[in-house]
């Protein structure tokens, strides 16, 4: 049982405001992922939760107790660092046992705990080796082993997979999700890789310039991005944005004129939007199909097998990307006609805030 509440956390380094008024309620056994571009404050927030950094204002509450000034061990957290932070002069066994040695745990109990951790992480035959003799993935597992022997309430991970190659990263992602289920522990995971965020998270926190843009389950972020920033950050390839002008507001949604004079009726809540307002229409590449509508000159075609990703320019020079069938009859240098279901379109007002879609798919878990 471990809940983690962040209450109005702000952090400044001198004049630089790195985090601004962050409040999050993370539930027991939840795996929450912090994503955001480089420098948005993910690591800083994680380090504040860990107790490695002190928040300028705000409280950290774990299981209902304010632990803001407490030592990491008393908070009941453990942390896995991006660089693994293994002790190179100690064996794998001693690395994993380090937190227990600090506690002066009895030898028998310590051996049992290390053995259990090593078994979960498939490191049993590596225990006598030094970290330098291990592969990247094995080192990462040792670092995780060191964090689980202490049975902490909350696990913190700072980009634990970013040093691994793509294939290994995929494997470790699955292993970590499995570990989360086995330990049924609360975890906070920092990454700048949106695939990791989408695949692993129960809920995702999207951070931008030290502020929370959105906090919700992956598919909610995908179908209902709260802001233009989230919309562009989640999803691969990035969402297309076309600038448009509102022509009319009705019960069916907004009539928006986009590039080339096309007027589409988009089923979204109007909010305070009025005719004449500038909006951005967001269209995910994967929601686009072949058919009359938008004309694009294909500059680059990437055939991935199952899909063909096309990049090109629309008539007015806007950059556009569409994900088509693997065998779609498209060629580089030629023009194609594309179409999109208005129900799949996202609309953002001039502030970058979303107008909620009315016909988005039901959220499934």
């Amino acid at each position: 049982m471990a809940t983690l509440d962040l209450q109005n956390i702000s952090k400044s380094f001198g004049a630089a405001k790195v985090l601004q008024d962050i409040s999050l309620a993370i539930q027991d056994k939840e795996l929450v992922v912090f994503v955001g571009p480089s420098g948005c404050g993910k690591s800083t927030l994680l380090r504040i939760i860990a107790g490695l950094e002190e928040a300028t204002t705000g409280q950290i509450v774990i299981d209902g107790a304010d632990v803001s000034g407490a030592h990491p061990v008393d908070r009941g957290i453990s942390m896995v660092f991006q660089s693994y932070a293994l002790y190179p002069h100690l064996s794998v066994f001693e690395n994993i046992a380090f937190p227990l040695r600090v506690q002066k745990m009895a030898d028998a109990e310590m051996r049992k705990r290390v053995a259990t951790a090593a078994e979960i992480l498939q490191l049993t035959d590596k225990l006598p080796l030094k970290p330098g003799q291990l592969s990247g993935g094995q080192r990462q597992r040792v670092a995780i082993g060191r964090s689980i022997v202490r049975n902490p309430k909350v696990f913190l991970f700072d980009e634990p997979l970013s040093n691994l190659d793509a294939a290994l990263r995929g494997d470790m992602r699955v292993e970590l999700s499995q570990l989360h289920r086995e330990l049924s522990a609360t975890m906070v995971y920092v990454t700048h890789d949106q695939v990791e965020a989408m695949t692993m998270a129960d809920r995702i926190v999207v951070l931008n310039k030290g502020k929370v843009e959105q906090f919700g389950p992956p598919m909610e972020l995908y179908h209902h991005p709260a802001t233009k920033f989230v919309a562009q950050f989640i999803g691969q390839p990035n969402m297309n944005l076309l600038s448009g002008t509102v022509k009319g507001v009705g019960p069916e949604g907004l009539a928006v004129e986009v590039t080339g004079g096309t007027v589409m009726t988009l089923p979204v809540e109007a909010g305070g939007t009025r005719a004449g307002d500038k909006v951005d229409v967001g269209i995910r590449p994967e929601d686009i199909g072949l058919g009359a509508g938008l004309r694009m000159n294909v500059n680059v075609l990437e055939r991935l097998g199952g899909q063909s990703i096309t990049y090109g320019l629309l008539a007015d020079g806007a950059r556009f990307c569409a994900t088509l069938d693997g065998d779609a009859a498209v060629r580089e240098g030629e023009a194609i006609d594309l179409t999109v279901d208005p129900a799949d379109c996202h609309v953002f007002n001039a502030n970058g805030d979303v107008l909620r879609r009315l016909k988005a798919p039901e959220l499934t878990r």
Binding site: V73, A85, L86, V102, R150
Partner: protein, 280 residues
């Protein structure tokens, strides 16, 4: 294939190394040659590099000419060893603090250390003499150890600090998160990783202590039994003649134990102990 240099460049490099080494080693060669020469040959002109009557006699005679010679050699090593030990005990925590902690006047005090380093001991001999007299340390081993330590601490801090700064901070943060105290982290994580750095600093402190003890010995110590070798060598200067050959022999023999230690330590200096700490 990996050779970046052409044959001509290699020849040039070796020639340069040869000239450089010749400059460095020629005095030692001359010392050695002098130690083999009978006294009567020393001032013979023209200079002959090798003579048929060269002997190792000086190496046995020197022990009787200066009966305390063995003691002087031991004193030298003892004083330099004590200076090194005390300096290291003081330098390790100080360098760690400079590498990791934040405190007022940190960079200012570091600069002051560097500034102090620029004074040679000679400038401060008189004030030091008064300090040592007040403390009652004149004519003891401490008269040579204490100033030695004082003058070597700044270099030690500077050297070791830059080494400790290279140890990844995340290792210490990981230890902190796991509940280790600073002292525990220093002992179990930082110092083991700093061993090559500690040896480098230790060696340079030892060399420094060895080199500077002459000055402190002749000014702060009149006790013959405590004299280190450089001061003891004076005893080869007699009333009528100087036993140059024996003095050179004694100097060479005195340096020998130190040389042996350094040759032995060299292999530790090369070993990279930090491999695998973090992914580079």
């Amino acid at each position: 294939m990996m050779d970046k240099y052409t044959r001509l460049q290699v020849v040039g490099i070796y020639a340069a190394i040869f000239v450089f080494l010749l400059f460095m080693l020629l005095p030692f060669i001359e010392m050695f040659m002098t130690s083999l020469r009978p006294l009567s040959h020393l001032f013979r002109s023209p200079y002959t590099f090798w003579g048929s009557d060269f002997t190792f006699e000086a190496y046995s005679k020197m022990w009787t000419t200066v009966p305390l010679l063995g003691r002087y050699i031991v004193n030298s090593v003892y004083i330099a060893g004590m200076v090194t030990a005390i300096t290291m005990v003081l330098v390790v925590p100080a360098a760690y603090a400079y590498a990791r902690l934040d405190f007022p006047f940190k960079s200012a005090s570091l600069s002051v250390f560097l500034g102090v380093n620029m004074f040679t001991g000679a400038v401060l001999l008189i004030p030091l003499y008064r300090v040592l007299r007040t403390l009652g340390l004149l004519n003891t081993y401490w008269a040579m150890i204490v100033p030695g330590v004082a003058f070597l601490i700044p270099t030690g801090i500077w050297l070791l600090r830059s080494y400790l700064e290279k140890i990844p901070r995340e290792l210490e943060e990981a230890a902190y998160v796991d509940g280790a105290s600073r002292i525990y982290t220093l002992r179990r994580v930082v110092l083991p990783l700093a061993v090559p750095g500690l040896i480098v600093v230790g060696v340079s402190v030892f060399i420094g202590a060895y080199a500077q003890q002459f000055l402190f010995a002749i000014t702060f110590n009149q006790e013959r039994a405590y004299q280190p070798l450089p001061a003891g060598l004076f005893e080869f200067i007699g009333y009528q003649s100087v036993n140059w050959n024996e003095m050179m022999a004694a100097a060479l023999v005195g340096v020998l134990p130190v040389m042996v230690i350094f040759l032995f330590l060299q292999k530790y200096l090369v070993a990279g102990l930090t491999a695998g700490a973090v992914k580079e």
